[in-house]
Every structure is written in C-alpha cells, then in structure tokens.
Chain length 326, copies 2
C-alpha cells in the first residue's frame, strides 16, 4: 500500500497525449499494490488506473505481465486491460519509471471472505488456468521450492529472534518440501498471489482479478494451494473447512483436479505456507523499522505452516475425493 | 498522505444506505489529507470522497467545518460539498469514527506553481474571505500567535538538535512577534492551510479549494501571509517576487487591502513562517521515526523565517502600495 513516486501534472499530461482518453480531469495516488505506485485517474474518456513500476519489479518482466493481462482480457476474464496508445508501445515512461495505463475495474476486495467468496475465487482461478493455456509468455517462478533455501539463508541467524527454535523448524520443513515436492503435475501460468485484496466483488459476485505481478509458470495446483493459505484461515488462526471446501469445489467445478493433483495438494499447501513465511521473515529482518513499508508478521504463516503439516489427505480440507461437487 | 482506517464493504454499504447515491461500485483509499482517512468512492449516483475523521481532529469542530463547506458551496465557491443523507445528520459514523460523504472535485493540485497559479490562488482566497462574511460559525485559531510559545516549549530543549542556536533564535523572533503582532485588522474565517496540495486546477484554471480542517477565525491578511510562505518560495529557498506579486495582486483584485493590512503583511508573514516552523519542529521531535507519518523538515521554514525577517515593507514583495493592480 503505497505511492512511491509522485507525478507532476504537466509530465502526466504529456504521457497521456499518446492515448485517446481526452483531457485529464484528476488523478489521486491510491493505497493499492505493494510493489508499484498506482493512481486513480479520471479523464474525459473514462476512469483508469495508472501504474508506475518501481525498482522492485524487473523491467524485463513487464512485457510478460502486460501480455498476460491482454491475453486474459481477450479471453473474457475480467482483469485490468492495458490501454493501447494511438501508436508505440503499451509500456511508456513517466517520472523516470516504466508506466502503463489500465482500464478501471469496478468492485471491492472483501475484508471478510465467506465460503461463497472462496467458491467464486476457486472458480475464477480455474478459469484463469484454462484461459492461459495458449499464452505464449513464460516466466520462471523466482519464489518456488528451489528458491526457499536461499531466502532462508538470506534471513540469516536472526530468524531465531522471531521465535526460539524457528531456524531448526524451518530447516526440517524445507528438507521435507525439497525431497517430497511433487513432480510432473499439470503446469502453466499461475497468479501466485491471489490474496483477498487482489479479487474484486460487486454485489456478491466476483467482478475481477488484479495484480498479476507475481504471475509465473509453475504447478497449477500450487496456485490453489496459495489460495488455501490466503483465504481459508480465520483471523484467530483456525482453519475453516467450509471455506476450503468452497474454494476447492469452486475450482473443480471449472477445472477438475486429477488424483495426482489431489494427492499433492497437502504438500503444495505446506509449500505455499513456507513461501509466504520465508518472504515475510526476510522482510521482517531486512526492512528497517524506519521504512514506510508495512511489515507483515511472519508468525501468521508459521501458524498456518504448522497446521498444514498435520494434513495427510485432502479430505481433511473438508472435500470429497471422488466425483464432482454438487 | 495516509489511510489510517480501513473500512469493510458491508459497513460501508450500510453507511451509504442513508444516501441517495445508488449501489456502491468501488472505493479506494487515497493519499490525500494528513489528518483524516479519505476514500475515493464510486457509486451508481456518481463519484464521491468519503472522509473518516481520525482522532487528531476534534469532533466538536466538525459541525463548524461541514457548515463552512456548505456555506461556501452555497455562495458558489468551488469546494467539496457535504452530501445530505435522506434523513438525519450530515455527519455519520463509520468504523467507529465520525464520517461524511462529499462531492468529488475535478482538478489536480500543482506541484510546480507559477505566478499565474499564485494570482488565481490570491483571487480565490479573497473570494473565500468575502463569502464567509455571513457565516455564523466560529472557531478559535488554536495555532495563532498566542499558541506559539507553548508549541516552542513543547518542542523542548531538543530544538537545538535541528540546528545549533535555534532555541535562542526562535525565542528572539517569538518576542518580536508577540510584541509587534498587529491588532484591529479585518478578521473573519480563514482557510489557514491553503498550500498547493489544497488548491485544484483544471486546464490552467483554478477549479476548487479543499481541506478546510484548519479553518478558524483570525486576521484575514494572515491567510494571505500563509499563502505567501506556501506558494512564493522556490525549492532552493529563494523568494520569488513575481509569484508574490501575482498572489497579492490576485487577492487585491477581489478584496482590496487597506493601508493597515499592507503595513502589517511583513509581520504577519513572519508569523506564518514561525507557525509552520514550530509545528514542524514539534512533529520532528515528537513523532517517532518508526511512524508512518512523513515528517517535514522544519529547516525549510527556518530559512523562510530568516528571509521574511529582513522585509520591512510590502513593496519588497514586488507589489505597488498604491492603487489597484493592472
């Protein structure tokens, strides 16, 4: 949640001259997106989101992300659509940063997800997985199982400051994940960060997905495992099987999961918990307290990791293994 | 620039049910206003600003501020207009805070004010001073000359950490201000914080004023003196007489300044510089570095204060004393 770069109006007006959006009427920095600066922009031609890519995003990845959103929107999936300039590249430059203009997506992210929200998210995620099958772009997941040990070592000996014994606990779980990580499952482009603040609802219906800046190629069911971590735990840390059933059955109603994918889901969910535990731990230790970035407590994902390690079979998530959901 | 309080959508929908604005379509926290949480809200009935009043604003003052905006808008001055609910008070409650809905004002604040911008601001300020003459509300200025010594004492001995000798320098200037502060000048409701980020322009024309949450009763020409501090210095600290002439002549083109007001302006400008120097100094010392509030450097106003102390007559601001501007 941040606006890292401010933009003077004459510079913005010059940037917008490339587009058929009419006269600029207003723009306001919004608290959306953690990696980039975002502005809600009103012009005579409509309402838009202007994104300035900050240095944490690799410039070489931007064509993959923008192409992905164009591909998804072309398939009818509701997501921000990069606006095409009259001529030249979709990606421009503003205030010394790569910048692009996107259509505005109505809707609001839900601060209190219900089982019905989870079902809709599962269905939308599966819809995305089907829609990207013919997307030509590829991007390696820099935060998958082979990267976790490096993140852990980067956190260093201070991991023990978060909780006594944490380094040994992570070491043990990392070994289990590295040796037991599923192979040969259906893969493709995944969202990889489909948290509640990246899913919009309008009058109870899912109205769109945003923030594709972690998207990458990986195991499809791992994306579902990330949602399991992000959507199905209560504030007090309790796992909610009704929400998990909604999420997984919503997914299966659009894209069935194979036996192998169902078998792998508990290990993938442990991996998802580890991925967010490690990035939060890394940030917790490395971001100075004087920074203006809100640091998220890594212990939330430590608790989730501990719960998910106990799960032996997907039925413990509240679902039936056989047959499609009702 | 902040969003201090987040709002769950069901709570917001319940709040909005009091208004004839139709279905809620989206809301996003915006980086606008330093004292309150602001959301840009889209509903079927239009675009609005939702303000949640945080604890730094005295709840008892809210009817004065809201009444003032209603009064000004009623006089044709462009400012956010509090939206009336179908029944009940303009001021509601949301997420445990007083909250109100305002019309959305098109336009952008200028990051690079020109002399023409300054002229327009001067004229708008004078227009506001004329428009409030029959506003019944009253609010004491808690940050006027009689409050500065208390602020200085509140900053305490650490003022010397900002610059050696600063406490003695402030003490000397405070004595000069307390003994020389003008009496008997025309008074009324002033904006008291008309910085560039509180004035919107659209295609070069001033489109409105916002953020009336420092408004209070005080000397009218003191409001102009605050603008002189806020608009007429360059980034490098140099005073720009062309901008000052634009500001003052713009003001005089709508509301003429008396001889007594012109005589008093240099002292009022020294007071304005001291007021912002002291609040910034206070915040600099008292706001912890781990806070998410951006602390503004008090030395900017120290430099302005030093310049303004040298001015003996308004002609040094680049204006003519006699006659109306061309």
């Amino acid at each position: 949640m941040a606006v890292y770069t401010d933009v003077p109006e004459p510079d913005l007006a010059a940037f917008l001259a490339r587009y058929d959006v009419g006269r600029l009427l207003s723009y306001k920095g919004i608290a959306e997106g953690v990696e980039n600066s975002n502005f809600l922009l009103r012009a005579e031609g409509g309402t838009f989101i202007l994104t300035l890519y900050e240095k944490r995003v690799n410039r070489d990845d931007l064509p993959f992300f923008i192409g992905l959103m164009e591909h998804l929107a072309g398939k009818g999936l509701s997501c921000p659509l990069p606006v095409q300039p009259r001529e030249g590249e979709t990606l421009g430059e503003l205030a010394g940063r790569p910048a692009a203009l996107f259509t505005f997506l109505e809707g609001m992210w839900t601060r209190r997800p219900s089982a019905e929200h989870c079902r809709a998210v599962g269905a939308a995620l599966a819809g995305m997985h089907l829609a990207v099958r013919d997307y030509a772009g590829e991007r390696r997941n820099a935060l998958s199982v082979d990267a976790w040990r490096g993140l852990f070592e980067g956190a260093g000996p201070r991991a023990g400051e978060v909780e006594e014994g944490l380094p040994a606990e992570i070491e043990g779980e990392l070994r289990a994940l590295e040796s037991g990580w599923p192979q040969g499952l259906p893969s493709g482009v995944i969202h990889a960060d489909l948290f509640p603040d990246n899913v919009f609802f309008l009058s109870g219906e899912l109205s769109g997905l945003i923030d594709f800046y972690f998207a990458c190629n990986d195991i499809l069911a791992y994306d579902l495992a990330i949602c399991l971590c992000a959507w199905c735990f209560e504030q007090d840390g309790a796992f909610n099987v009704t929400k998990a059933r909604g999420l997984i059955d919503g997914y299966r109603s659009v894209r069935p999961l194979s036996e192998a994918e169902l078998d792998a889901l508990p290990m993938l969910a442990r991996g998802a918990a580890m991925r967010f535990l490690l990035t939060r731990l890394y940030d917790w230790i490395h971001i100075p307290d004087t920074s203006f970035v809100t640091k998220k407590d890594p212990r939330e994902y430590l608790r989730k990791s501990r719960f998910l390690r106990q799960v032996r079979d997907v039925r413990e998530y509240g679902i039936e293994r056989e047959g499609l959901p009702a």
